[in-house]
Symmetry: C2
Subunit: 107 residues, 2 copies
């Protein structure tokens, strides 16, 4: 099991690239082969594979080989961890603002 905190580096880094986000988006429609992922882009298949490897290393995506095709699918738990990190910080901040508003309202 990977370290959940350090892993956020890799997850957010993977999501910081528009090509990789588009790939994740494509995978939400269902498991996808590498060449299917490559279809919308101009870049070489080798480059696409490198993006897939970044996604897989981050835990956002899992792949398995079926014959000569590699099937890629989303791993929602990694998405959830990133989502939760953001959500916790945002809500902490917003609750702080609410308390501040109450204090100011009392005066």
């Amino acid at each position: 099991m990977l370290n959940q905190l350090d892993d956020l580096d890799a997850v957010f880094h993977a999501l910081a690239d528009p090509t990789r986000r588009a790939m994740v988006e494509r995978m939400t429609a269902g498991p996808t082969s590498v060449s299917e992922l490559a279809r919308p882009f101009q870049m070489s298949l080798a480059a696409v594979l490198q993006h897939v490897q970044v996604l897989e290393a981050s835990g956002l995506v899992r792949t398995r080989k079926q014959g000569r095709v590699r099937i890629c699918r989303i791993e929602p738990r990694a998405l959830r961890r990133a989502e939760q990190w953001i959500q916790e910080r945002r809500t902490t901040w917003e609750q702080r603002l609410d308390r501040l508003g109450e204090v100011l309202g009392e005066e």
Copy 2:
């Protein structure tokens, strides 16, 4: 006003660094000066400032100068946009799995 879609690049990139996430975390406790943000780290103040600039360029943080002190605070809307992008992809995938489960259950 910045482009909200392209901006996700900058937001996720900003969050991909553990130093910057720690800074965001510190700011959830309230507005924070640059030198206060720097306190937990070994690195130079110049390096800390560069991190603050990355956060500000992403829209995650807003700063203003009060005298010789720069006060940094979280901008929750940028956090929310990143959170929503992840959430939408995750739930789309999970709903797809649910529908798949129903189809399999019918057989």
